[in-house]
């Protein structure tokens, strides 16, 4: 609480990019040596900030809570007295070490953000001309391997979208014979009854072409027939073909 009493909470709420960002902010604000973080103070400040967010009814992302738990855990482990290292044993690792590594790593990338921002600033001040618009006369040769699938996809999408913009686009209605579930059930039952010794499940779909609608309907019909106890489905072991038999009692 030492830092808080000398430095009361300010109601300026900087936007943080996550718990690591918040921690680094607290470390900078308090001018703390990152290799020797006073974990009790920092944990307190961290929790205060999270509580502040909650009291303002701001949604606190789960990551902040996870970090809070980590901090409290480190704090607890630091309170435990350490047994002096036994002969030949390495000294126990500082409970803060892992967190410090993460902070240092994250901090270094934060540093490159400024570099990138600077380059972006410069780049936004210079302009390039596009290619001359006379593609009918000359085309730039494509560099070998310079086209990736994504670009091809984009080109295809462009072609397709220009096609659909065309008013004279060819339209045709392809009629589809819609089979009802009832009709399909009759068909499936007939197929199964034709083979009293048992019909393999895959045998239901013997004649291509296959249509999604047809496959789904066949499957639904089969499920319904099983539910109505008209068909018996057995499988010797997982992965085997499912054997379908008509139920004698119903058939009679």
């Amino acid at each position: 609480m030492r830092f808080l009493t000398t430095n009361p909470p300010q109601f300026r709420l900087p936007v943080f990019e996550g718990p690591l960002d918040l921690l680094l902010h607290l470390i900078r604000e308090n001018r703390i040596d990152i290799y020797d973080i006073p974990i009790a103070d920092i944990t307190q400040q961290y929790l205060d900030y999270v509580a502040l967010l909650e009291s303002l009814d701001l949604a606190v992302a789960g990551e902040y809570i996870v970090m809070a738990a980590t901090l409290v855990e480190i704090k607890a482990r630091m309170l435990l007295p350490q047994a002096p290292p036994a002969e030949g044993e390495e000294e126990e690792m500082d409970p803060r070490a892992e967190l410090v590594q993460k902070l240092l790593e994250y901090q270094s990338f934060q540093g490159s953000v400024d570099t990138l921002r600077g380059w972006e600033e410069y780049r936004r001040r210079i302009f390039f001309r596009g290619a001359l618009e006379n593609p009918d006369d000359y085309l730039l040769p494509l560099p070998a391997g310079g086209i990736d699938p994504r670009e091809l996809m984009a080109a295809l999408a462009q072609v397709l979208s220009s096609v659909s913009d065309d008013d004279t686009a060819v339209t045709a209605v392809v009629p589809r014979r819609r089979v009802s579930l009832r009709m399909k059930m009759v068909e499936v039952l007939r197929k199964v009854r034709a083979k009293p010794e048992g019909l393999a499940f895959s045998g239901l779909f013997s004649d291509p072409p296959y249509y999604t609608y047809d496959i789904v309907l066949t499957f639904l019909a089969l499920l319904e027939l099983i539910r109505q106890h008209q068909i018996d489905a057995t499988q010797k072991q997982p992965g085997d073909d499912i054997l379908l038999r008509p139920k004698e009692a119903e058939a009679a």
Binding site: G18, M67, F109, L116, R117, I126, G130, A131
Partner: protein, 187 residues
């Protein structure tokens, strides 16, 4: 034929960064001569107070306007799209140094979920998918693109400064060049 002027013509019709090999091919000369022509062009542009410059960008050469003329251009053209957010830049930095990298690996560094940012960056074509990592779940690997280099006016990834935190070296970055490249006097 003045080679420098020829390069100027080529660069002004290309509309994209031209690798030195392409320039040499168009000029029917070797790459050394092409580099010399580029240097001559840059000098000539400077001497005649041209508003244009030759930039070494995205592994090629391109003509661009000088940054000090951004105001008149800005009054003529409206720029599409704003700057990248901090979250986007952080994520880009991590990808640039650690590529190819998966989303969970990025999240491990940033400590927050990054799926949305990565998707946006991919839509802007600053990064792209580079296959999948042969681990559980086969997560998608991401790497920076040519557009990334162009967005930040970089000639190649070697321009990224050394990170002050060195734990795991970035394997895919080109090894530091022992012999410095001949300075073309270009940006």
């Amino acid at each position: 034929m003045n080679l420098a002027s020829a390069v100027e013509c080529i660069l002004s019709v290309a509309g994209e960064p031209l690798p030195i090999s392409e320039i040499a091919r168009a000029l029917q000369c070797n790459e050394l001569t092409a580099e010399e022509a580029l240097r001559d062009l840059q000098l000539t542009l400077g001497e005649r107070n041209s508003g244009l410059q030759v930039v070494h960008i995205a592994e090629g050469f391109q003509l661009s306007t000088l940054p000090e003329y951004v105001e008149p251009i800005g009054r003529l053209l409206t720029r599409e799209g704003g700057k990248l957010s901090r979250a986007a830049l952080e994520t880009l930095a991590i990808i640039a140094y650690r590529q190819p990298i998966t989303v969970p690996e990025i999240e491990a560094v940033r400590g927050v979920a990054c799926g949305g940012v990565v998707k946006t960056l991919a839509e802007k074509r600053l990064i792209s998918e580079m296959g999948r990592k042969p681990t559980i779940g086969r997560p998608i690997l991401y790497a920076t693109t040519q557009d990334f280099l162009h967005y930040f006016a970089l000639k190649d990834l070697g321009e990224l400064p050394q990170l002050d935190y060195v734990d795991t070296p970035a394997p895919s970055l080109p090894a530091p060049v022992v012999e410095p490249e001949p300075d073309l006097g270009l940006v």
